[in-house]
Symmetry: C2
Subunit: 527 residues, 2 copies
Amino acid sequence: MGSARNLLFIMCDQLRWDYLSCFGHPTIRTPNIDALARRGVRFTNAYVQSASCGPSRMSYYTGRYVTSHRSFGNFVALPVDELTLGDYLRPHGIRVAVDGKTHVEPDPTALRQRGIDPASAAGQLLLEGGFEPFDRHDGVLADPHDEEARTNQYSNFLRQHGYVSENPWLDYANSALGAGGEVLSGWHLRYADLPARVEERHSETAYTTDRAIAFIAEQRDKPWCLHLSYIKPHWPYVAPSPYHQLYSARDVVPAVKSADELVAPHPLYASYLRHQASVTFSQNATRERVIPTYMGMITQIDDHLGRLFDSLEKSGRFDDTLVVFCSDHGDYLGDHHLGEKELWHDAAIKIPLIVYDPAAQAQASRGSTCDALVEAIDLVPTFLDALQVEGPVNRLEGRSLLPWIRGYNVPEWRDFIVSEFDYSFRTATRRELGRSVRECRTITLRDHKWKFIHCEGFRPLLFDLEADPQEFHDLAQEKALAPVIEHYSHELVSWLRARKTRTTVSDEFVDTWLEQSRFKGMKIGEW
Amino acid sequence: MGSARNLLFIMCDQLRWDYLSCFGHPTIRTPNIDALARRGVRFTNAYVQSASCGPSRMSYYTGRYVTSHRSFGNFVALPVDELTLGDYLRPHGIRVAVDGKTHVEPDPTALRQRGIDPASAAGQLLLEGGFEPFDRHDGVLADPHDEEARTNQYSNFLRQHGYVSENPWLDYANSALGAGGEVLSGWHLRYADLPARVEERHSETAYTTDRAIAFIAEQRDKPWCLHLSYIKPHWPYVAPSPYHQLYSARDVVPAVKSADELVAPHPLYASYLRHQASVTFSQNATRERVIPTYMGMITQIDDHLGRLFDSLEKSGRFDDTLVVFCSDHGDYLGDHHLGEKELWHDAAIKIPLIVYDPAAQAQASRGSTCDALVEAIDLVPTFLDALQVEGPVNRLEGRSLLPWIRGYNVPEWRDFIVSEFDYSFRTATRRELGRSVRECRTITLRDHKWKFIHCEGFRPLLFDLEADPQEFHDLAQEKALAPVIEHYSHELVSWLRARKTRTTVSDEFVDTWLEQSRFKGMKIGEW
C-alpha cells in the first residue's frame, strides 16, 4: 500500500443509488462492486448536481455547481473559460483520458471566436472537456445516419466484427431480432426482454472494459487518470445475452409510489407525470419487462469490473491507484409515477459512491460507510488531494473526501447538498407551463431532515425526510412549516450569492494585491 | 442625415453626472458637450453597473452586469468566454479600436491554458478586451519604473517632445514643479492647483483627441467604431496650464453632506469614512484646491471635443455616426463625507449620458431629455441596434435605447437599475469588517422612489429618493419600512437568478432543439 499515483474514475450512466447489492438491493448481484466497497468507503448520502447527464458530468469534471459552470442542459457546451480535471492534472505530467462517455458538447463557435485551432492539442482537449479521447463513445447515436457513428471507435469495432451498418450502435448493439428475423429497435421498451444483436463480448460494456484494461497496461509506471465511463444501464434498455434474462419479474422490487402523490400535485410534477416515460413506467408490465434488463446490465458491468479489478490486482495497481465508482444520476423506473430522471427525488439525484484509497491512512475506514452529505463536485478536490496537487480555491466548489476516508478531523462540513435542473429543454412541459426558456430552473436543497425544492415561478416543494423518507408528502403548503420554507429560501439566496464566479484571479491575489509592486506607487487621497 | 454607419463612443473617467453645464452645474463651462446634448438626447437617470473603472467598463463593453461578466474588480480579467463589442461588430466589417483607456486586464494564463498564441490576432484582441489598440494608454502608471510606461505610445510621444524619463506620464504629465524647481508628484492633492509639467498640447487630453481625429480621418468611407476614452478627470488631479487655474474656489459648489449621516452609520459606510481619500476630501481646503482643477480638466476635455466635433462636421461624419458621451463612474469629491467612488450614492454610480443618433427618426427628440432608468449595459445593444447587427439575446442584458430616442413605443422597461461593488480589494475595510475576500459584495437596486443596498453579511440600507433626494437618511431600520425592505430583497433574488449565464447556446436553440435532426431519433419511454 502506498499513496495514489493514478486515478481510476469509474462512472455508470443512469445507475440508481439503490441498485447495487452493497447499497441494499435485495435481489441484484454485484459482488465485484461490493468487494470494492469492502476495500474502500461507501458514501450513503451522495448526490449529483443535476439529474441529467450533461450538467451532472460537467459538475463532476469541473468540481463546480451547475450555476457556476453554466452548462445548464445536455447539448449546452461548457463555456471556454471553465477548467476541468484534465486542466488540473495534465500540467503535473499525468495522462488524463476517457474510455467511454463524457457527454461533453463541443463548441466550435467558441474556438473560432477565440482563434483556437480545433486541430491543435489545446483545441482537441477543449472539444473533449479536457479528456484525451483514448476511446470516447457517448452512446445514444439516435439517428440512423448519425455522423459520429460513422467514425467512432466502438462503431468501427462493431463493423470489424461483422455488425455492418451505417450506425451499428443503433442497429446491432441496441436492437434485437424479432421472431421473423425483423430488427426491433431497442428504443421501444416492449423489446427490453430480448437480447441485443451483438455477442456479449462485443457489447459496449465488454468493449469499454477491454479498452480500460489495455489503457492501464499501456501506461506501465507513468501516472495516469482514466475516466472509465460506461454508457449502461442508460436506455435504450437492451442487454446482450445472457444478461437479458439474468433477472425476471420476480426480482423486481415494487415501485416507490403512493396514490397520495397524485392529489393536487405541484404543477411541474404534474406535467412530468404526463411525460411518455412516466406514463409507460407507471404500468407494471413496463417495469416487469424493463427492470430485469436494467439489472442485467448492472450485473454485466459488475462482471466486467471483476475482470478489471483482477488485472489491477495482478499488476499491483491497487497499491497506487485511487478508485472511484459512481453514477451520473438515477432513474425513476416508475417510482413516484415517473420514468426517466431530472426531478428532485432521491431516485433521480442520489447516487452510489464508493471511494477506494490505497493510502495506509485509509486502512481503518476500509469497508465502512460515511453518511456525510457528499456531492459529485467533491471528486475533483478529492483527486487533487490524493495526488497532492493544489487546486484553485476560487474555482473549486467541492471539498476533498479524504478527511472522511483517512479519519482526519473534518472541522465543518456543508449543511445541505444542492442539485439543480433546467427543464427548458423539456419543450412540452415548458410550453404547457407557459415558461420562457430562461425561467425553467429548479434548485433542490437537501439535508438529513428536509428536502426543499425551489421552482422558479411556482411555489416550492418540501419533504420531511425523517417522517417521510419515501418523499410522498409535499408539505410546502402546511402553514406550520412556513418558517422552514423561509429558512431554506434564505439559504438558497446565500448559496446563489456565494458561487465562485471570480475565476480569473485567486483569492490570494485579492488579499495581497496592494503589496504587489505594480500597484505600490498608487497614493489615493493623500494630501 | 442618414443611418449610423460609425460609432464614436466617448467616455470620460471619474466624471460625475452633475459636472457638466447641461446637467445643471452652475459654474462649469462645457459648451461643446452641451451642444452635443442639443443634437441628441440627454439621459437624466443613467447608471453604471459598478462605481469602479474595471468592472464598470467590462459592463459597458460586454453589455452585461458585473455578476454575469464576473470581472468583479480592477485587475480581475474578464473570463475568456465573455464577448465584447469588438466580437459583435468586427465580423460585420467594422473596425473597432480604442484611443485611450479601457482598463482591460490581460489574462495570459487563460490564453496559455487554452493554447491561444498571445501574438496572434485573436490573442491580441483578447488581451485588449476586443478593441484594436489603435492607441491604448490607461494612465495610472504609478510605479516610477512602470513597464508599460517604457513602451506605450503616449509615453513615447512625451519623450519625443522632450519630456524624457523612464515614466514621463508620472514625472511630467502628472507632476508639477515647486518654487525651487523640485518635482512635486500629482499624487499629492495639495499640488492640484499647480500646472502639469507638460504643455497643454502635449497633455493626455490633447494627445488623445489628436489621435481620435487622425483615426477618423484615416477611415474615410470604411465603417468604424472608435472608443475615445479620456483618462481625465480621474486622479491624479493635475491639469496643464491654463486649465489648472480656469476655476477658483468661488466656482466650487458645496459638498452634499449632512451631520446626520455620521450618526450610527452603517458599518461599511463607517469604514469608508475612515479611508484616506474620505478624510482628505472632508476638509474644505482639499475641495477648494482640487475641485477647480477637476473642473478645469472637464472644460479641457470639452474644448478638445469642440475640435473633434468641428472635424466631424466638416467631414460630414455627423451624418453617419452615432455619438455617445458618458463616464465610467462618478467621484464623491467630499459628498457624504467621502472621497473616491465605489459605494452607492448617486455621486458615485450616476453618470452623464448623451446619445446623438444621426437617423431622421431621431429628429423629434433632439435636445430633449429622457428620465428612464438607463444603464451602461444598454450601450452595446444600442450600438448593435443602430448598426442593425443582431446581438445574442442569451448574453446581452442591456436594452437598446433607440426606442427612447426615436419615439418608438417602449412596451415595458426595467423596474430598477442595478449597480454592484466588491470591496474585497479594499484591504483595510475588508479586514476591519472581518470579511473574507469572497464576502464583500454590495448590490444596489435603484428606482425612481427607493434606493435599496444589499450588503453581504450586514443589514441593508434604504433611501427614500423622493423625500430625501440627497440620500442623507438611511431608513433601513425603520420598522414601518420592513415591507419595502422585504420587497427589494425579493427583487434582488429574482434578479440574481435571472442572470444570463447560459451563454453557449441560444434561446432559440433551446426552444427548437427537439426538431433538429440530430436529436430526432430519440424515443424516450415509448412502449
